[in-house]
């Protein structure tokens, strides 16, 4: 038990360093386009998946219960903005509908990549090191921080609690499927609600 804990700590450190390297790659490739660069977003997702696979994560056939939990979790994430969208006369940003087919695979790949690394291998390593609470807290913090260079510090509060929500789905279901599905549902909801 202690040996497993000892081994998990450097693993968590390596994964965090890998996350930082993947983010650096994304920012360097995106340049002035920021989050608007689809190639940079795809490179980021591929880097995260590479790290997760190297650390032992393997995609499995998703269990129906995890899929349902993910859909429910995604609905919860989409509900507040949907309510705001329907009740407040705030201006919205028109995203070009014809770009949706290009945007969708990139957004899904990024969601899966982030979840495979954060709620997958990093969560597992941190949980072995210090238990569930540090695992949820630290992966949520990492989730919020990786968005700061792209969206600014104003995104921290929302991304932090979204990280806690996705981490909770990981705790409840014991796998990556539910948070990955919830994350993907939220991203797709963003497209249509903004």
């Amino acid at each position: 038990m202690t040996a497993a804990r000892t081994a998990a700590l450097p693993r968590a450190a390596l994964l965090t360093a890998g996350l930082a390297a993947a983010l650096t790659l994304r920012l360097a490739l995106a340049g002035e386009d920021g989050e608007g660069s689809i190639p940079a977003g795809v490179a980021f997702a591929v880097a995260l998946l590479l790290l997760a696979l190297a650390a032992g994560w393997r995609p499995r056939q998703p269990a129906p219960a995890a899929l349902l939990a993910g859909l429910g979790g995604g609905a919860v994430l989409v509900a507040p903005p949907l309510w705001l969208h329907l009740t407040r006369p705030v201006p919205v940003l028109p995203f070009p509908a014809e770009a949706f087919p290009y945007w969708l695979p990139a957004a899904l790949l990024i969601a899966v990549g982030e979840e495979a690394l954060l709620r997958g291998v990093l969560f597992g390593a941190l949980e072995r090191c210090g238990g569930t609470v540090p695992a949820v807290a630290l992966t949520s913090l990492a989730f919020a921080l990786i968005h700061v260079p792209l969206y600014g510090p104003a995104a921290i509060p929302l991304d932090l609690v979204v990280g806690v929500w996705l981490g909770s789905l990981r705790v409840v279901t014991g796998g990556v499927t539910a948070p990955a599905v919830a994350h993907a549902v939220a991203d797709v909801g963003f497209w249509w609600l903004l």
Binding site: I38, P94, E114, V172, A186
Partner: protein, 244 residues
Amino acid sequence: MRAHRGLLWLLVAGMLLGAVWLVLPPTTPPLYDVVSLHEGPYRWLKPPPGVKSLPPTSARALFAVGTTTGADIATAEKAIPQARLIILGSKPFRVPAGVKTVVITIRAIAPPATQPAGTYYSNVYRFDAETAGGLHPPLARGADAYIELLAAIHRRSPVIERYAHGSWTALPTGTFIGTHDFIAQNLKSLGDYALVLPGKAPSAGSSTLSKLSYVFAGIAVAALLVLAAVLFLQFRHRSEGSTV
């Protein structure tokens, strides 16, 4: 026990989520993680030195006074526009009796002689309303009008400034998180507006930035490969250890 613990986690996380949504500013979009799309490179009326640019587009719309319940005029229809005006309500203009329509226009104009105390992050846009008789009706008191301006430069946070009577005035500026779109609400009047970064211009030319970007990308890829290799060796070592 595990199910109870899991439900407790979800309950706490759900309450946190609800609390954060309640205190977020109204212009905050539902950001989680997204790749946003602009219409392409920024279209400058007067491009900065060394920057090639297509000319900016303009917008024109007819507003039926007392009939139309709102207007949404933008310089691009199929992408995030560089400039946009949103007017809510059917009587946002103070027009003389008998005036039935107002033409609303948005167009980029040459920057005025008086420079703002900062760097332009967008074209100067003129938001105008005109009746058939050539009058430019002011906004009615309490009119609900917003303007949105897209930043050409995606670094730091500029503010929307209005040029009137020979000087620039900064307005309270919000942003759509996750975009480079900036918004000023509750406009008192139409007129000339631009995004301005207060203070001195950021240094670092684009070519230097581009070379540095390649260096950083190369270092990041090398680091990723080394880290992935170490993680894989660790994983194999653990797998072999567990099967022995």
